[in-house]
Symmetry: C2
Subunit: 417 residues, 2 copies
Amino acid sequence: MSDVRAAQRGPAPRGADSFLRMWRELLPVGREAGAAGYRRYAWSEADAACRAWFQGEAEARGFTYEVDRNGNQWAWLGNPADGDVVVTGSHLDSVPDGGAFDGPLGVVSAFAALDELRARGSALRRPVGIVNFGDEEGARFGLACVGSRLAAGQLTPEAARELRDADGVSLPKAMERAGYDPDAIGPDLERLSRIGAFVELHIEQGRALDLSGDPVGVASAIWPHGRWRFDFHGEANHAGTTRLEDRHDPMLTFANAVLAARKKARLAGALATFGKVAVEPNGVNAIPSLVRGWLDSRAADEETLAAVVEEIECAATERGHRDGVGVTVTRESFTPVVEFEHALRDHVAKLLGRPVPVLPTGAGHDAGILSASVPTAMLFVRNPTGVSHSPAEVAAEDDCLAGVTALADVLEGLACP
Amino acid sequence: MSDVRAAQRGPAPRGADSFLRMWRELLPVGREAGAAGYRRYAWSEADAACRAWFQGEAEARGFTYEVDRNGNQWAWLGNPADGDVVVTGSHLDSVPDGGAFDGPLGVVSAFAALDELRARGSALRRPVGIVNFGDEEGARFGLACVGSRLAAGQLTPEAARELRDADGVSLPKAMERAGYDPDAIGPDLERLSRIGAFVELHIEQGRALDLSGDPVGVASAIWPHGRWRFDFHGEANHAGTTRLEDRHDPMLTFANAVLAARKKARLAGALATFGKVAVEPNGVNAIPSLVRGWLDSRAADEETLAAVVEEIECAATERGHRDGVGVTVTRESFTPVVEFEHALRDHVAKLLGRPVPVLPTGAGHDAGILSASVPTAMLFVRNPTGVSHSPAEVAAEDDCLAGVTALADVLEGLACP
């Protein structure tokens, strides 16, 4: 249907060369001098710069560039209306002080893989698309995968419009300030129905590939996970004059919940983390009136996850009784277990031409959201530190290029059968 | 030397009437709609409004109004250059979401007590001053009693210029923006040397007067106290992918320190509180790289205080070894024990005309800072909740007026012997 040779302009860079060029160009965006890491938050200036980069790469190759109703960016090679499209891509936003690879590696590799196919002279028989999903990390509005959730109908426009950032700016206001139309957001099922396969490449967020000695692996499943807000209601008072026995100090109850969460997760083979805290009034000499802690928890199956969270809530409530502190728990988000479609997963693994590890992951991804609507697979690239959501996350250049080759092989196998 | 009748203009309000009028007028300042309490931070707009109120009250009475080199406000009745001045007053700033009484009760009562003396027709034989010390609470820059510390030479201008608020604004910049000259700050010992007695009236920050059934008491001593910053250095990582055994999670070490602080304080009969926390990056799905907790600790004597803080530090460091988390502890401030001068204390108690409780307090005050340079005493007014640094702190109207009468009696006894 489409010929990658005809659609691209200029000389044909090999995937490796173009990957390295694009990586260099994107690297400074959203990393301010003195900052500990990247701060590419949804609808920020840094986000706009990432989006401009995406549009530039799409247009430089003569791809059809498009922004959907939810602000996700697409670059098409061939006509997506023909259906059975092969889509690849990831996201460009970051967590607070995040690393360079989580998200951008998948988008840059997507462009580089198509450059590689062009250099190989591969003739595409299915339309191909590259996507940059908006607000994957949820760093600003507290909910991950907003762009793909809206498209897949897993987040209603009404609920999305209620999202607010730490400064009280609503999602619609943030979109509007960035030049997007917040009235347009909503499900985009026709677009998703045209996708025959979505393959997301991502840096591994653990050390499994490092331990097995493989540069690239394939995803089997995403653990169920969720976020719960724990509100510990105490009584503000003077830290220098209030007798210990007269206190209702919510910091004690919170501290106990942090330690309980670790213990319950360890016993269940699950994960539980309090990584975000807000304290009122947060004065050095004031017993807090309120401590808010956000629990992130994940497990291999939904029953285990539910049991762990319930145990943490019970421990917090029990300690709250002793401290004279009220505890309320609100589930802010929940993502069920995702089993990637076995047929596509096995096909992708076969296209890599050699046995590769097939791994579960605890991290959520746009691929997990889409998997409810679209056959979806993921490739992971080795991360020797296993560190993620930090500037210490890293993939060796050779492994990044192995990732580009693997993605090119998969796209070629899917689109040029 | 001065005659209060001659120096004041207009009709003579009784202390009670003028107290209630001033209290009503000051009450709305610095309390925004929807806020949990007062936010009268040093050099803020709310602070400026409080200062304008002070200047207005001073000038309406024909007192000589003056701002010293450190931004403390003074209102003089008589010529302070004559020496042996009797000074009263307190502060007008607040902790975050603080109550209405801590500070303002002492300043409003000071003006009202002089109105009362005028109504009594008392002839002052010593100059009298009213002071509003700047930045007593330290809510913005993390160090309490900045105005009195600078004046008494207990804080160097160099160290003061290094102070920064949570937004990175330095103290000099904040003073400049508020219209004050930060180059002028420094010791003001000649001014202090002219003060023969300083009497600060303050709401009690505990329940001792409530338990004894007295509206007013006299301070015996201020417990030694200090602030220590605990930095817990971990490693940022993804909360959904990092195995528990690979983590260096500083939130765990912090949580353990919070519980250890309570336990060590309880065993020693001391106070220890973590009321302020800062987390980096503070993302819901990110293991923190850094948790900062500020410890406020106080005890009846300095040996006990040092021992408690050392025990908390040891417990934190030990747990840090288990968590793979580095712990550094920085003493940000320390105020030794203050024994108020016994002669003035006993004189003040005698002037009240009846036996009153003589109480220690765990809270720091400008009176404590000044006591190193000046004979100093404090009066406390009953607080039936015992709550402080919160909108729940309260004194009954009758008790406030009893405080005005007590302060008037003391000033009369000191200045009109």
